[in-house]
Subunit: 208 residues, 2 copies
């Protein structure tokens, strides 16, 4: 028997989901709550197989709840329920440790399927959510518009590793003044004025 807990501040929706899941013999909804105020205690007690978690809830958001749960439990499957797919929090939820992501409008036809899928080790997602996830992996990967020379990239790389000018000079068998020259060039090209800015930019633009 698959045990399930529902968190959603919408009473009607909670009811509908209970109804929907009651029609499947192997599922047992062992709890539903309008907020996450006692989520840690509840999950510890019930040890559900699957949690359905609304993202937008008052006081403790679904994302916070996932974080709380993941502090002591890495195995229970959590499927997020969200109204809008342009919700920027969706990615946060993924990073927090949710397993699946379903738009509320697609609950009727896809929820049962999604539950089976997480249990099988999958990551069910509504298409538009999947798109966001993929986009987040692709973002920025088109850089290289700063056209740093090979040597400059090398210096930037060593810099990011925490090397001082002196250490880089030794590593590359060139004078410290040459390092300085390269650094100046790099700053110019990246339009920054310090090591920290340069490295920060390098990471953000995936130059490293």
């Amino acid at each position: 028997m698959i045990t399930i807990i529902i968190y959603d501040d919408n009473n009607d929706l909670r009811g509908s989901i209970r109804q929907l899941l009651s029609e499947v013999d192997r599922f047992a909804v062992t709890g539903d709550h309008a907020n996450c105020n006692h989520v840690m205690q509840q999950v510890k007690e019930m040890k559900p197989d699957v949690i359905l978690m609304d993202i937008d809830m008052p006081l403790i958001s679904g994302i916070e709840a996932v974080r709380l749960i993941r502090k002591f439990n890495r195995t229970t499957h959590i499927i997020m329920l969200t109204v809008f797919d342009d919700n920027k929090h969706v990615l946060d939820a993924i990073c927090a440790g949710a397993s699946g992501y379903l738009l509320k409008k697609s609950i009727p036809e896809k929820l049962v399927n999604a539950i089976d899928e997480v249990l099988a080790g999958g990551a069910p997602m509504s298409p538009s959510i999947a798109k966001m996830v993929v986009a987040s992996l692709q973002q920025g990967k088109e850089a290289e518009r700063y056209d740093l020379s090979a040597r400059e990239k090398e210096v930037l790389y060593l810099l990011a590793k925490g090397n001082s000018f002196k250490m880089m000079a030794a590593a590359l068998f060139i004078s410290i003044d040459t390092i300085r020259s390269h650094i100046k060039k790099i700053y110019e090209k990246l339009q920054v004025h310090s090591q920290t800015e340069a490295i920060s930019k390098a990471y953000n633009e995936k130059l490293i």
Copy 2:
């Protein structure tokens, strides 16, 4: 009419896909190739709406091909076809700019659907692929083992943005010596000895 090009070194599979797609009126397969040796030229000429791309091909891999295509074209949808879901290259393909990812075994029942989905702006994925993608986003996010205080995190964040000690002091309305104290603590906790190392570590450990 939706135009489609297929790249796969398996002649039988290419044939099956052609056959499968020919049964859908709105699809027109305008080309199929066993390798990607002339992929840039072919794509430039045909300007297909969708490309089906095998990942494992001799000489130029599907991933390389995606990179080549994305150099001059950001709009054509590319669906990767892969045999194994444990292929570590799947993530590379995503980052290279593919839109969807289908296991070959699920082609018969899901290919038509996947094509419609990318055209609608989605990101169709086989469940096990989705799982990998999600896992890649979640990985490492369990850091926090350096237990920096809230203030220290704030300082580290500002540092990474390229602020000097002076600027941070001004921004936080505290003395520059206090910044210095926080920095010293941060270095101690992260076990580093310079700004650059600290920021590099912060990025690598997802502290920022």
